[in-house]
């Protein structure tokens, strides 16, 4: 090739290409539509093809063995597998080829299942299209260069973002394995939603009893650096070597000095709470200086700058300061930053509950006695606003309670998905209400979903306790009485699909079983960590079955409800899995780098700088002395933006060179 | 029908032409046709282009006179955008243009047309070229010819970016000023060019005028046409190549009309013949009366001799002297002898060199103010220059974004085309008798239009190319009696 038009490494080390084409039946998934035999015969007629075979399941051991045997026999030195999507099995066949003694980069896949047999109505059309894709792969693989997998070392530390039960469990698992963990939580305490619950289904063991020990374990663990009231502001680098910048917001109280004695709160010039207590869902008031709940971790008070008189007027005796024996106050505190280098990151950023006011027909915010499930969790909580007393806002006890399921979930107008936990926690709430105050409880449900160990049994138990179950979507909640007995009550209107009639049931308290939603800032977080998420906003796992806690960005893993609705057992299990993935990566000691990186032919580079500014990752450096640009292939993520722009073709991309892609274009058009 | 002679092509000129001679049954020339067998259509593919690119696009019409097209295009842009260049820009343009006139005239006299005289019309063809000229006048002279051209073309490159296909022309001025250092080199180059011009005139006197045979040839009826003449003149009716008004004189030398280029459509029209791609210009004021000369025929001429005829003299001393010598020697204006064009060319060479020297000495010439940014919306523009081979007119119209919607080009050789056709017919009739046609004779027929230094590439905006020249002589029955190849 004159003047190095192609990647010099393009020619296989042992002379011309000898291509083997392996067409997979995938049982009947492919063979049921595509004439596999015809594709094999066609493939055998293509240039450089020395072997063409078909087989039931190429991804199976015997299937891979076919390839390896041909490689070992020297029949082929390049491999085309026509089967499923490369996103599914490219890695598999690269491994197989490497095991057969050939460069793993000498593989190309043709997706004749996802792109052909599964989407094409007519068999002949499917066969023709399969041939075209195979021809493209054959033309392309002939030019594939030899690429030895490149590796870079992995830093031993890990960052966990989010201090809910998932983040806590992941952090402890890693710390116990001897890895140093940075746990970042944006609230003033870890614990997340679970810390707000009183009991957990179906075992009804107390949330605090099982959670708080883990919380304090986090605080005291020598391998864990806990950063609360903090958030991640930037992430740079790549798998094995992330540089993360964390911002710490000021508490105006020194964490290292405060002992959590809470004397300052009593001493505050505000004699009692005056500001909405977020932790209690606004059901109680707190002072400008406060601690969310007694077992908050760390047990450090925080000053609400917006509420504090000192900050607002500069005139305040600051009785709090006098009350502090440790001189922990520091009203001069400002934001501070830390930058840490970690090998892996686990995202456990959790969820938010559906905003019930988006469904005005249920009267939330309109009628004081309509509550969300989370509010009721706080009411039931001994550490909550009513010390566990179930009382309405007017202090009275409800005699009848209606629990409406699927609020915001399984609803075309709001969220299509099932939030998974609502049925179970609604049953839990029904049980606890009945147990605590003996009220009549009505559950309005669409379907009762109780999959899980001991779940169905719990449902039976609650039924036996005499909780009423009404099957049907609730039309609305109103205080307009249609009959004397409805006077002074809230009326729930619902179609009972079991008896086939519309019912009006007067109750004193309505509990809305709000569903699970992605965090409001899920999109920003996704971009910050360069992971993807579905249209609804839950982070996307690399593969729903085979890689449920990995993301498309190496070194970043998912735990808990940020990936999708989960209950506590699932969250903890997934957190363990994420920790294990991170451990595996760290203990391997290295990561295999992106193979399709860009590179610049030094002799061909004119120094026009077109590419330099285009790189989103700053992977291209310009040498002012030599007037040449060069790619740092460790930093390069292999998008090829620079290659598409390079006006003189000096920049190329491994496995996506111009010549390879142009050959594939010609291949898919040349023959059929 | 009679037999035919086909002269195809004509060598040592830019472009591509073909002569078709029909003999009657007596073997006398019935009629000779000059055919231009090519066409390019620059006007058509100019449509949609950016107006500011036209000076660079149209210069590709001809690589021998790219500066002429570049400059005509640039002046058209001034008009199109209604913007007057600063004085320095205008002067630099003219100075560079004069340098181009000198080197181009030198090229023609010593490389293309001149050999016919310097080496001799009957000399063996292998000698009728620049090497032959060098042989005749000596290697030193040859070196000087080459040297002067090299120096001037070097100056043009430095001022205009490139000598072949310049880039410096923009509406409202030029892309860069002339540095004092470059100005000095222009001054030196001009001085050398003036001396060279004087020397070239002396060569002409020594080699041509002192040779009775040549003078008879020049003044012979075979090379004489009484036509109108068109040329660009300054406010004092002196020859100017860069700017001015267009002046037309009749065959007796009286002024017919003088008009600004913007009115060219009122005075110049193109006639189409089905047997040539080349269109034939004529004077609207007189009308098209076919291929004939005289006061009633709109046929006219451009290029050096025509410019001298259409003017009332030269703007510089040495040239004026030479001009007067030419007129008196050839019996006063207008001079109708086609071959005298070679002499007129040398007069212009000196004139351009002297003018170049004047401008190099102008205090404005190194001013940094060489651009005015157009502020008005472009509409329509017309620009004219005198190319070495004659009057060259560019005419563009654009949309409000300055994209060309219409372009019309009238180039030197088109203006001359009808008269060249006359010359060919007349020369053939005078020189060709019967089937016995020899080399030298054919060359003399060629000389009839080589004198115009015609550029058929320009004329048809055609893609020039050289064709083998074949003369087939057939008897009335059409059978080949003799073939002469003059490839």
């Amino acid at each position: 090739m004159p003047e190095g038009g192609l990647n010099p490494k393009a020619v296989s080390t042992d002379g011309g290409p000898r291509i083997g084409v392996y067409v997979c039946h995938c049982g009947l998934n492919i063979a049921g539509k595509v004439d596999v035999k015809a594709v094999v015969e066609f493939a055998a007629s293509l240039p450089h093809v020395t072997v063409a075979r078909d087989y039931k399941f190429m991804c199976s051991d015997p299937g891979q063995e076919l390839i390896q045997q041909d490689l070992r026999d020297g029949l082929v030195n390049r491999v085309v597998v026509a089967s499923c999507s490369p996103l599914m099995h490219e890695a598999t066949f690269r491994r197989a080829t490497a095991a057969g003694g050939e460069s793993p980069s000498h593989v190309q896949m043709a997706s004749i299942r996802e792109h052909v047999s599964w989407v094409t109505a007519d068999g002949d059309d499917a066969t023709e299209k399969a041939k075209a894709l195979v021809a493209g792969a054959v033309r392309r693989v002939a030019l594939h260069e030899v690429l030895e997998p490149r590796q870079s070392p992995v830093r031993p530390d890990v960052m966990v973002v989010g201090g809910g039960i998932a983040g806590i469990h992941a952090a402890l698992t890693l710390a116990d394995a001897g890895k140093h963990v940075y746990l970042v939580e944006r609230e003033t305490t870890i614990g997340g939603h679970m810390a707000k619950f009183d009991k957990t289904f179906p075992t009804l063991d107390c949330a605090a009893c099982i959670l708080t020990p883990k919380m304090s374990a986090v605080r005291t663990h020598p391998n864990i650096t806990l950063w609360t009231y903090s958030d991640v502001v930037s992430v740079e680098g790549y798998a094995g070597d992330f540089r993360v910048r964390v911002r710490h917001r000021p508490r105006y109280v020194r964490e290292d000095l405060c002992t959590g004695c809470l004397a300052c709160i009593d001493a505050c010039v505000h004699k009692q709470g005056k500001f909405e207590d977020e932790w209690n869902e606004g059901l109680s008031k707190r002072k400008p200086i406060y601690i969310p709940f007694p077992q908050a971790t760390p047990p450090v008070v925080v000053v609400d700058r917006e509420a504090c008189i000192w900050f607002k007027t500069g005139k305040c005796p600051r009785t709090c300061v006098d009350a502090c024996e440790r001189d922990a106050f520091d009203f001069e505190q400002t934001e501070t930053f830390d930058e840490v280098e970690v090998g892996a990151i686990i995202l456990a950023t959790g969820y938010r509950t559906f905003d019930a006011s988006r469904m005005p027909e249920y009267g939330y915010g309109l009628y004081p006695n309509v509550y969300t499930s989370l509010e009721v969790e706080r009411l039931l909580n001994a550490a909550g606003p009513t010390n566990g007393e179930i009382v309405l806002r007017d202090g009275s006890r409800p005699r009848t309670v209606g629990i409406i399921h699927c609020v915001g979930s399984r609803d075309a107008k709001h969220n299509l998905w099932c939030s998974k936990v609502c049925c179970m926690y609604s049953l839990k709430l029904a049980h606890m209400v009945k147990e605590r105050i003996g009220a009549e409880v009505y559950n309005f449900y669409i379907d009762m979903r109780t999959p899980g160990k001991g779940y169905e049994e719990f449902y039976d138990k609650v039924l036996r306790e005499g909780v009423h179950m009404v099957r049907g979507r609730v039309a609305g909640v109103t205080d307009e009485a249609a009959s004397p007995e409805e006077e002074g009550h809230l009326v729930i209107r619902a179609e009972d699909t079991l008896i086939g009639s519309v019912r009006r049931i007067p109750v004193d308290m309505v509990i809305l079983a709000v569903g699970i939603e992605p965090q409001p800032d899920a999109q920003e977080v996704r971009r910050l960590f360069n992971v993807s998420c579905g249209s609804e906003g839950f982070f996307t796992e690399r593969h729903p079955k085979l890689a449920p806690v990995s993301t498309f960005t190496d070194g970043i893993f998912l735990a808990g409800a940020c990936q999708g609705p989960k209950d506590i057992p699932d969250s903890v299990a997934q957190a363990g899995a994420a920790a294990a993935e991170a451990l595996a990566m760290i203990d391997r000691g290295h990561v295999t780098l992106e193979s399709s990186t860009a590179f610049i032919d030094d002799a061909a580079c004119s120094g026009c700088k077109t590419c330099v500014g285009l790189c989103p990752f700053g992977a291209i450096a310009f040498d002012e002395d030599r007037k040449k640009a060069a790619v740092n292939e460790v930093v390069c993520k292999g998008c090829g933006i620079c290659v598409g722009a390079c006006p003189s073709g000096a920049a190329q991309q491994h496995l996506f060179t111009d010549a390879q892609i142009l050959s594939e274009i010609e291949g898919v058009l040349e023959y059929v | 029908m009679g037999s035919e002679i086909l002269i195809d092509p004509i060598t040592r000129l830019e472009g591509h032409g073909r002569i078709h001679i029909f003999l009657d049954d007596d073997g006398e020339v019935d009629r000779a046709y000059l055919q231009i067998p090519e066409l390019r259509g620059f006007e058509t593919f100019a449509r949609g282009r950016r107006a500011e690119d036209m000076p660079q696009i149209t210069s590709r019409i001809c690589g021998v006179c790219p500066m002429a097209h570049h400059m005509a295009g640039t002046k058209t842009l001034d008009d199109l955008y209604h913007v007057d260049p600063p004085p320095a820009a205008t002067k630099v343009r003219e100075m560079v243009y004069d340098a181009f006139m000198v080197e181009d005239h030198a090229l023609h006299f010593f490389f293309l047309g001149g050999p016919d005289f310097v080496v001799g019309p009957s000399a063996p063809k292998a000698e009728r070229n620049v090497l032959g000229v060098i042989g005749k006048v000596g290697l030193e002279v040859g070196k000087e010819v080459i040297g002067v051209r090299k120096e001037l073309r070097g100056l043009i490159s430095d001022a205009a970016g490139k000598v072949i296909h310049p880039v410096f022309g923009l509406p409202g001025g030029i892309s860069q000023p002339v540095s004092p250092e470059l100005r000095d080199r222009f001054a030196a180059g001009a001085a050398r060019a003036v001396e060279f011009g004087k020397f070239a005139l002396q060569v002409f006197r020594d080699v041509v005028l002192s040779n009775r045979e040549y003078v008879d040839l020049v003044t012979s009826e075979a090379y004489t046409h009484r036509t109108y003449y068109l040329g660009l003149v300054d406010e004092r009716n002196r020859v100017n190549y860069y700017d001015g008004r267009l002046r037309v004189v009749d065959p007796d030398g009286a002024e017919l009309v003088t008009f600004p280029a913007r009115e060219y459509l009122d005075h110049v029209a193109e006639h189409v013949e089905p047997w040539s791609y080349l269109k034939f210009c004529y004077l609207r004021d007189v009308g098209w009366k076919g291929f004939t000369d005289g006061v009633d025929s709109g046929v006219f001429a451009v290029a050096p001799l025509a410019r001298l005829n259409a003017s009332e003299g030269m703007s510089t001393p040495v040239a004026q002297e030479a001009y007067e010598e030419l007129c008196s020697t050839l019996g006063g204006k207008p001079v109708h002898y086609t071959l005298a064009t070679h002499w007129a060319r040398l007069v212009e060479l000196v004139n351009a060199a002297e003018r170049m020297a004047e401008l190099a000495a102008d205090p404005d010439i190194t001013s940094p103010e060489v651009r005015r940014i157009p502020t008005e919306t472009p509409t329509e523009g017309i620009g004219v220059v005198e190319a070495p081979r004659g009057t060259l007119i560019h005419h563009y119209a654009t949309d409000e974004r300055g994209l060309i919607t219409q372009a019309n080009l009238i180039v030197a050789t088109q203006n001359n085309a009808a008269r060249i056709a006359l010359s060919v017919d007349k020369a053939a009739k005078a020189l060709v008798h019967g089937a016995e046609v020899d080399e030298a004779l054919l060359n003399r027929v060629e000389m009839a239009f080589r004198a115009y230094d015609p550029c058929f590439g320009c004329a048809t905006h055609a893609l020039p190319g050289q064709m083998p020249l074949i003369v087939e002589v057939r008897d009335p029955s059409g059978t080949l009696v003799r073939e002469l190849r003059r490839d």
Binding site: G4, A52, S111, E114, G136, R527, S532, C639 | -
Partner: protein, 182 residues
């Protein structure tokens, strides 16, 4: 195939980014969404890799239409590769118009990994549009290849670049079920 013996079937080359549109095409497959077989997808890491040369080469090699698919703005796995694709496409689109190539023959679509149905819709729409436009009748002629001058039309091995000429004759081993039989 020579299309003289069958009605005109448009051939469309698609360049899909691996993270969004190619994944969406996989999703369409997993969801068994049926669509026109005329689109042949080539997988790139990012729509920002699409070089306008690829689009022209596809037309030169016989494509009647070209489809480019990338992540929605803001969703690019490489932050703004898709924006670069957009910048090139917007200029290329205008240039192809001046080349006399109908706008319907080139299309840029943002298709996220979740939008299998959009892959189905876009492929069907594009196929019908191009079918209505008819074959792209480029003047026949050779094409220049990377690093070499021009190579005669249809010289198959030419694309094999350096290995051209060393092509071993296909032995076409056609064993069903591989070596299991042994």
């Amino acid at each position: 195939m020579s299309e003289t013996d069958r009605p005109f079937e448009p051939r469309i080359v698609a360049f899909f980014c691996t993270w969004c549109t190619y994944t969406a095409a996989d999703l369409a497959g997993i969801s068994r969404m049926q669509y026109a077989p005329n689109v042949r997808a080539i997988r790139l890491m990012c729509s920002g890799r699409v070089d306008p040369q690829f689009v022209l080469a596809a037309f030169r090699d016989g494509a009647d239409g070209v489809l480019i698919g990338g992540c929605h703005p803001g969703d690019c796995h490489y932050q703004e590769g898709n924006v670069n694709a957009l910048r090139r496409f917007e200029l290329l689109r205008r240039m192809l118009r001046d080349f006399g190539i109908e706008e319907g023959r080139v299309r840029l679509e943002w298709i996220s990994a979740a939008e299998g149905d959009k892959v189905q819709r876009v492929c069907n729409e594009m196929t019908e549009r191009v079918r209505a436009l008819g074959p792209l009748r480029l003047e026949p002629g050779p094409r220049r290849r990377v690093g070499v001058g021009v190579v005669p039309v249809g010289a198959a091995e030419a694309a094999a670049g350096p290995a051209a000429g060393e092509a071993s004759e296909p032995v076409g081993v056609l064993e069903t079920e591989g070596r299991e039989a042994r």
